[in-house]
């Protein structure tokens, strides 16, 4: 058992699906402390989303270890694993795909509350309404289906569902890339509010360096399934060492600075 101050310790993590020659994730090691704000960047196909799914145990790693608050996450199975899921949550890239198409918003928001036994049955409705308000949505949306909402509203719902169990770790897998710019800005604000209110550690997956400064203090750069650079955002953006980081920074120079005016 290492330093108890770590929330998440990933060591030598690898993922190679059967029949695939090259691992999608290879020898990934890093650690997060409670409340850390970390960005995971890299070009498309670098393995970022796969790594995110490995960490929240939606994919089975083929090598390495994951410790969450000192406990071996890969040893947890079945009911024990199901219970632990309350503490680490993920928001997917495409909110339309991430919400069940045939179930009402309210039922899907009630899922984690009910499944983790957080709220007594008769208080579910009130708590769902509160969750919707927390992410700036009208509680009346509980009675709607996902396809009746806008993209931004759907992503707020997905964020609300991820926050319902008050996780210690929130992974956001390119949560804004399916949304337009004005919605992005609103959601960045929402994320900031959430962070001050609940202080979960966040791992923000993106290929867009423009948002990294806004969402992270530290950045991990991924390339070809490996983490090739790990350091404070300012250092990495100012003096990228790995080739992949340099490519990303060079590409980002042509983008407007966060908070600046759009071209």
């Amino acid at each position: 058992m290492k330093d108890e101050g770590f929330l998440l310790e990933v060591a030598g993590l690898g993922y190679r699906p059967p029949g695939v020659a090259r691992p999608i994730v290879e020898e990934v090691s890093f650690a997060l402390r409670p409340g850390d704000r970390v960005a995971l960047v890299g070009a498309s196909g670098a393995g970022k989303s796969t790594l995110a799914r490995l960490i929240v145990r939606l994919l089975e790693p083929t090598s390495g270890s994951i410790r969450f608050r000192g406990r071996d996450l890969l040893a947890a199975r079945g009911e024990a694993l199901r219970r632990m899921r309350a503490e680490f949550q993920i928001v997917f890239q495409d909110p339309l795909a991430a919400l069940g198409p045939r179930r009402k918003i309210g039922a899907q928001l009630a899922d984690p509350l009910r499944a983790f036994g957080l709220v007594p049955r008769r208080e579910l409705r009130a708590r769902v309404a509160q969750l919707l308000k927390e992410v700036g949505l009208d509680p009346a949306l509980a009675g709607r289906f996902p396809h009746e909402l806008s993209g931004g509203q759907r992503q707020r719902v997905a964020i609300a569902r991820a926050l319902a169990s008050r996780p210690r770790l929130l992974i956001l897998d390119e949560p804004f890339s399916a949304l337009d710019l004005s919605v992005r800005a609103q959601l960045l604000n929402l994320l900031e509010r959430i962070r001050t209110a609940h202080a979960p550690a966040t791992l923000f997956v993106t290929h867009d360096l423009a948002v990294v400064r806004a969402v992270a203090d530290r950045v991990l750069v991924m390339d070809g399934g490996r983490i090739v650079e790990d350091g404070p955002v300012d250092d990495v953006l100012a003096r990228p060492r790995a080739e992949a980081s340099r490519v990303l920074v060079r590409a980002a120079l042509h983008l407007p600075r966060p908070g600046g005016t759009s071209p």
Partner: protein, 277 residues
């Protein structure tokens, strides 16, 4: 869902099939009220042709039994067997397919080999063999037809599950703490069902035919009038009293047609959207 209903409603053939099916169902269900003559009661009026006597509008058979009453009773048998066999095949096949898709590995392998074993034998021959062993009767007919038709829904649902289990919303439900059975029933099953509906109609149409064929061979329930059995009886007097075989034959064709049209309409309406032609 509502736009699928709309697309179904725009298809004239599908609507015709639906109307026909409803009519058949209504006739079959209301038969005891509509035409309360006992289909098994013989009368002295033997081999009466249709449209001659008001007491027997569709005529009588060799024992003087009323043909209209027998046709209506046959409709009840036919639709009951079709509905029960299809429901049983869907439930059993669906459960097996769901289990196979979710478990993978050995369970999946076993279920699929079993399905193949059932599918290599033509459905009718399998049903025939099963009924020969179990003896004629309503229950054995239903069981035999279901046993011959469960592999199709099993394979279909397994394929849907394999497609859906990696979907984001299913992963999200797992992340939200739902247990495996909950994920299967709440998220996967409802989204795997749309393609099952047209298949159910196809199975029902086939079940109507197999029931008639079994009854034709004398393997149906001897205590219930069946169109297949009526055709077999009418064969002996085909030249002198052709209506005895033709009327139940026509009823059979209409029912299968109705169910097939509805099935095709459903398949069309629920298919993933194609470019408008």
């Amino acid at each position: 869902m509502s736009e699928a209903v709309f697309r179904f409603a725009r298809e004239p053939a599908a609507c015709a099939g639906l109307v026909l099916l409803f009519l058949l169902l209504a006739l079959a269900l209301s038969a005891p009220l509509l035409w309360p003559l006992d289909p098994e009661a013989p009368s002295p009026a033997i081999l009466l042709p249709p449209f001659v006597e008001a007491a027997h509008p569709l005529g009588t058979d060799r024992l003087g039994r009323d043909l209209l009453a027998r046709l209506l009773a046959g409709a009840r048998t036919s639709l009951l067997v079709a509905a029960a066999a299809t429901a049983a095949a869907l439930l059993a096949g669906g459960a097996i397919g769901l289990l196979a898709g979710f478990s993978g590995g050995f369970v999946d392998e076993l279920a699929m080999r079993l399905a193949e074993a059932f599918q290599v034998v033509p459905g009718f021959l399998l049903a025939l063999a099963l009924v020969s062993v179990a003896g004629p009767g309503l229950g054995s007919t239903v069981a035999a037809i279901a046993a011959a038709s469960w592999p199709a829904p099993a394979r279909l649902l397994r394929a849907e599950v394999l497609k859906l289990r990696r979907a984001d919303f299913v992963l999200a439900a797992i992340a939200a703490g739902l247990s495996r059975p909950e994920v299967a029933l709440k998220e996967v099953l409802p989204n795997a069902l749309p393609p099952v509906l047209p298949l159910a109609a196809l199975l029902a149409a086939a079940a109507i035919l197999v029931e008639a064929a079994l009854a034709f061979l004398g393997l149906g329930d001897p205590n219930r009038p069946s169109w297949g059995a009526m055709i077999a009886e009418g064969r002996a007097v085909l030249v002198s009293a052709p209506w005895l075989a033709l009327l139940p034959g026509a009823a059979l064709v209409l029912s299968v047609l109705a169910v097939n049209l509805v099935g095709e309409g459903l398949a069309e309406a629920l298919a993933p959207r194609r470019a408008a032609a």
